[in-house]
Amino acid sequence: MSRIPEAFADGPAFVPYLAAGDPNYEDSLRYVEALEAGGADVIELGLPFSEPIAEGPTIQSAVVRSLEGGMTPRRFFEFVEDLDVSVPLVCMTYYNLIYQFGEEEGPRPFVEKAAEVGLDGFVVPDLPAEEADPLRDACDEFDLDLIFIVAPTTKGERLQRIMSQVSGYVYVQARLGVTGAQADVSDQTTDSLSRLSAWDVPKAVGFGISSGDHAERIVAGGADGIIVGSALVDIVAQGHEAGDDPAEIARRLTDLSEELVAGAGRGFAQRVPKAERT
């Protein structure tokens, strides 16, 4: 069993995302480490794919920067090994990179290597449950989690099918569309969380969370964790664009992380009384 479940055991989990190698290998290591400093419970590390069909403009740009910086699957695994963090790490990437890795056909070589470098699980946005069996099997073999995304449109039989395959946590997509920071929290989130209440796997909500207030409301609404990507990637992009000192950029990442953790804590506090009322 992976280390992910325990990351959700103790209050709401903060799950930040950064693209590995954005904007370059060295700085990116520092930025990922800054997330742990800010209170990350799990970190999603993006392995960039040339056709990121599920991403909005912010993460697309991060992917381009990382690829231009020479990121490859093999470099990615070195990156994971070079990272000085202790929280569980989830690899977020697209299926073709998993599928092509290694000599053997299928996802097994990639998963094996991931386990070897200490990764804890995967999120694969273009791999629906229907096509996931080979990856699920490999994850089971190497004891890694396979996280699935549940969209606002995921209901009924589909939801059952996904929830029967998920492990680690379920990625609750807060609204329709692609990744990207948003000002508001969607009603769709509440609906999704209530549909998912029958399963006891942790529910982490992502897509559009950009501030402590957002985090607070989402956790207050029942989320077991918050996933934050674009808002953090924006800090990297803007700092990089402005030519800021990487140490300063890392500090901003830590600051936003702390704000989000604090917000999530406030939200959790609002929820406890409800639980006590039952």
Binding site: S50, E51, I53, A54, Y99, T154, L176
Partner: protein, 409 residues
């Protein structure tokens, strides 16, 4: 939803319900003709599109190659290419499904213009995603889409061409999936698109089979069609697939070379069937041009309509099983035949189509007595590009363009 190992549905979860809904609609309306969908589709293809499209004996090519050469004249379909068969089918299907909005991607603009025409004809709001670079290279097609009332949304990511436009359209669809249908432009993407788009285009080969019976009395020994994503290809092949005596040739863009530059991530061709490897792109497992890590490469062809790093999964399967021959010709050969067909037959083909004729020129001796070439589109859209690319090369049969005062634009 599989063709052997190929196909499938590799899409974000948010799209899966829409894809299930579409799969259901495809079964009911397209396969079962519910509510007379296929009847209306066929009638509109006739009255609006101009079907049936002629099967023409090419007298001068027949003489040149000493065999019977027939042209399936999809260039005469409304809009100037086979593309309307699919666009009209999908926009009509979207109406039957109660969708209120259409999105589509386009590379060179052929699918975009066909979709824009169909959307205007059927009164459905339409937005087309197109790479910014393509927008500025393909002005006439952008004009046409805008004139037909479609929005054209520039895509600025990546190289700003078809691959990026498809990704961006998928993003729009993922955001607006409840009221929006994505009219994909080829036999690519997640199931049911490859099968459905093939079915809409299969009118090409169904008509041709009937025309061969009525006009010629025999069926062809070989059918040639250019292949990018492969929609005209499968349309021209579909009805002939069961008849093993008909050789099927998918002619890909060999570009400037079949070798690839892994370092730069560039394949100077678009020959996914001939040189690609199995991978997952844009929702389907198929043959793709990719580097050893699985990153998709930038493809190339003198013909922007063939310039795509993937290919329809059904074609990949038919090539693997040996039913379809994957062949390719390079940019120079295609340009030469662009000129030859224009001069010999009075038909200026699309640069895409010219690839099929270049294969005929090269390999006609092995193609049997009667050959059909699918004239997938007309070349009006390619005039500037063809002249420009011709000027860079030494093509004997190309006409002199010095009639213009002053320099070429």
């Amino acid at each position: 939803g599989k063709f052997g190992e190929y196909g499938g549905q590799y899409v974000p979860e948010a799209l899966m319900p829409a894809i299930e809904e579409l799969t259901d609609a495809y079964q009911r309306y397209v396969l079962d003709n519910e509510d007379g969908f296929m009847d209306e589709f066929r009638q509109r293809l006739r009255d609006f599109g101009g079907r049936p499209i002629p099967l023409q004996r090419a007298d001068r090519l027949s003489e040149r190659y000493d065999r019977e050469v027939y042209l399936k004249r999809e260039d005469l379909l409304h809009g100037g290419a086979h593309k309307l068969n699919n666009a009209l089918g999908q926009v009509l299907l979207a109406k039957y499904m109660g969708k209120e909005r259409i999105v589509a991607e386009t590379g060179a603009g052929q699918h975009g213009t066909a979709t824009a025409m169909a959307a205007a004809h059927l009164d459905v709001p339409c937005e087309i995603y197109m790479g910014e670079r393509d927008i500025n290279r393909q002005r006439p097609n952008v004009f046409r889409m805008r004139l037909n009332g479609s929005e054209v949304n520039p895509v600025t990511t990546g190289r700003g061409t078809l691959k990026e436009a498809i990704s961006e359209t998928m993003r729009d669809w993922a955001t607006n999936v409840e009221d929006t249908h994505y009219v994909i432009g080829s036999i690519v993407g997640p199931h049911p698109f490859p099968a459905m788009v093939r079915d809409f285009h299969s009118v090409i080969s169904k008509e041709a089979k009937r025309q061969f019976d009525e006009q010629v009395g025999t069926q062809p020994d070989a059918v040639l069609a250019c292949a990018g994503g492969g929609s005209n290809t499968m349309g021209a092949f579909a009805a002939f697939v069961p008849d093993e005596s008909v050789g099927l040739y998918a002619v890909e863009a060999g570009g400037s070379s079949l070798t690839v530059d892994e370092e730069a991530g560039v394949a100077p061709n678009s020959a996914s069937l001939s040189t690609g490897t199995e991978g997952v792109l844009h929702g389907a497992r198929t043959k793709v041009l990719q580097d050893r890590d699985g990153q998709i490469m930038e493809s190339h062809s003198v013909s922007s309509g063939l310039d795509y790093a993937g290919v329809g999964p059904e074609l990949a399967h038919l090539v693997d099983t040996g039913r379809v021959h994957a062949v390719n010709v390079d940019d120079d050969a295609a340009l030469t035949e662009f000129h030859r067909l224009s001069q010999l037959e009075g038909i200026i083909p699309a640069l895409e189509t010219a690839h099929a004729f270049a294969f005929l020129e090269r390999d006609h001796e092995s193609l049997g007595e009667t050959v059909m070439v699918n004239v997938s589109g007309r070349g009006d859209k390619d005039l500037e590009a063809a002249i420009e690319e011709t000027a860079k090369r030494d093509i004997d049969i190309a006409p002199d363009m010095s009639v213009f005062q002053g320099a070429m634009r």
